[in-house]
Symmetry: none
DNA sequence: ACGCGGCGGAACAAAAAATTGACTGTGACG
DNA sequence: CGTCACAGTCAATTTTTTGTTCCGCCGCGT
């Protein structure tokens, strides 16, 4: 278990995050292939590892915890990875991987799609389903591991995208790719609340770029799930409106209040309950945000649609165990 | 009205945004200064324009509408801008400007803060309040114009930050600076809904970086920060009074000397230390000013409240690395 | 060593804000 | 259609902030 060079640290006292670093450099040649397979299986997905050139494999990787995401910086010799149809998966691996190629060549195949990446390009694929990755020579890349629910919440049609290539040459793809690269370069210097904010932006930018690349896939309205996503997006926009009630949401979405109730009921939550939960989450996030350190608690509450400080205080304590003031001070 | 080269287009049918581009290249030398003043006043803020080197001014700018923001890409010869206290303002100019320096030198002063930028660095300032910008030679920059309400919604303490420098060398500042630069490079390719999403991210990142840079300013609560600003303004007025001591400031502000100390202590500086720094900066600015080339150094020092020339010389050397005379000769 | 002016700590009063408790309507869910 | 839980209100109570005064410390010039 401790063949590995350094240990993960979620966060030090100062709030800085420290990476888990791994390297083949200390591993005897004969064992590298097996060692690498174990590492990749443990950290990303169950795959077979082979060397396309029959040369000795080498790889260095640094994995930064990034709120719910993980950002990995990887330098590697040529390598081939393949995931077979029936590999079992750990729940913790139920994620999409967004890969940003820094140098070298990278070919990714999944579900009959083939993505050939140039340095700077990005690709998204589902780590839990069969895929093949082929890199004929030395290369380096970043990998952003995005838990499935997180991604699904922002992009309804995500299940339909396999090995989706996003050009890093221009437009939103370039911005997103650049952003992830900046994060990779500066990952040592982030405090934990910063990582968390940046992770949010990263997911958002990647999905935005994906949507731009493949508008067709995502507009196909599938069913209730798509509607739900739409409604949630609407709610998100209106959160700060104190006069937000089921009727208003119904009007703005063109659905009947009853149907809305049913939609959310299927998720085990009522519509208004969802709204309140989101509002509380926004407040909590503002309270934790140093940018808002000077703002009065009641102001934050009011800003997110609460009409009454005392009510807010109670609701908050109910959800987070401690009152808003306590929450702000000792996270 | 149509002295200008191309027209703004909010959005074409395809959703692409097109920049408004302006250039001095077609303007006769004699009219450039006036033309540039008009352009800057129309697009950004009412300022005076001068050439620090008495050379002919030249400037190219492209302004991209970016949802509620505007992103400008600017290349310019050396230039000095100054906004006076009582300039009237258009409502449309009620914005903060985030400037990202691409190349050259840039010195920005506002409310007693001085920001000296390296390429890659960022700074935020309030376009509606007095400020001075000094660029001794050719430079290029991006400007992100952020409407005040937009910024205020995300950052409680925004009113307090004047000429806030954000290092682009590392951490969140680097990510934010990079992001804005990416946006600038790809601004031609964005569809309007993309611009709008990116604008959101840009504001968020800039504020996040700002918060990281100056936690002290933001950890102050609103009212305390407001009194601090008030005190600083008072100090600014009295700088040249040699009999300015904590007691005098206390009397004039109606606060106790002790409280004043605590106020400045929160910013990591003591009251008199601040006064000194400001006096030195005023002296430095006078020393660099060709109009005062004839004034004796001691005269300048006395004028800004120093009582003793030798004391001044020592303090100056401590802050600026060289003595006042050397400073005046070669910057 | 001595006095002076500025600096920052502790104790404290007043004011403002946050939290709690008791009580009331209304919508959610069976 | 009844029950129940929970959003909202008002007043009482507790905690935090805002400033104050008093005091000792330190660096500086003599």
């Amino acid at each position: 278990m401790d063949t590995f060079s350094s240990r993960p640290e979620s966060a030090t006292a100062k709030g800085k995050t420290r990476p888990l670093t791994l390297s083949t450099s200390e591993i005897p040649y004969a064992e590298r292939s097996e060692w690498l397979r174990e590492v990749i299986c443990r950290e990303y997905a169950n795959v077979d590892v082979t060397s396309p050139t029959r040369q000795v494999l080498s790889q260095d990787l640094a994995i930064y915890p990034f709120d719910n995401l993980r950002l990995s910086v990887i330098r590697s010799s040529g390598i081939s990875l393949r995931r077979q149809p029936f590999e079992p998966s750990l729940a913790s691996h139920d994620a999409y991987l967004a890969v940003v190629l820094l140098s070298g060549d990278y070919v990714l195949e999944q579900d009959g799609n083939e993505a050939v990446l140039q340095p700077g390009d990005m690709a998204i694929y589902d780590a839990t389903r069969p895929h093949r990755i082929h890199c004929p020579r030395d290369f380096s890349k970043l990998i952003l591991s995005i838990p499935r629910p997180l991604l699904r919440a922002r992009m309804a049609g995500i299940e339909r995208c396999a090995a989706l290539r996003i050009s890093g040459a221009e437009g939103v793809g370039a911005v997103a790719s650049n952003f992830v690269r900046s994060c990779g370069q500066n990952a040592d210097a982030f405090a934990s609340h910063e990582s968390s904010a940046l992770a949010d932006h990263a997911v958002d930018l990647v999905t935005l770029a994906a949507a731009t690349t493949r508008p067709a896939v995502f507009s196909l309205s599938d069913s209730r799930a798509a509607t739900l996503v739409r409604v949630k997006a609407l709610v998100e926009k209106c959160l700060s409106d104190p006069a937000l009630d089921p009727a208003a949401i119904a009007r703005r979405t063109g659905l009947s209040p009853r149907y809305l109730g049913a939609l959310f009921g299927a998720e085990g939550m009522s519509l208004m309950r969802y709204v309140w939960r989101r509002r509380l989450e926004r407040c909590a996030s503002d309270l934790a945000d140093p940018r808002r350190a000077g703002a009065r608690i009641a102001e934050i509450a009011f800003h997110w649609g609460f009409g009454d400080a005392s009510h807010f205080s109670r609701a908050f304590k109910q959800r987070y165990g401690r009152g808003p003031a306590a929450f702000r001070r000792g996270l």
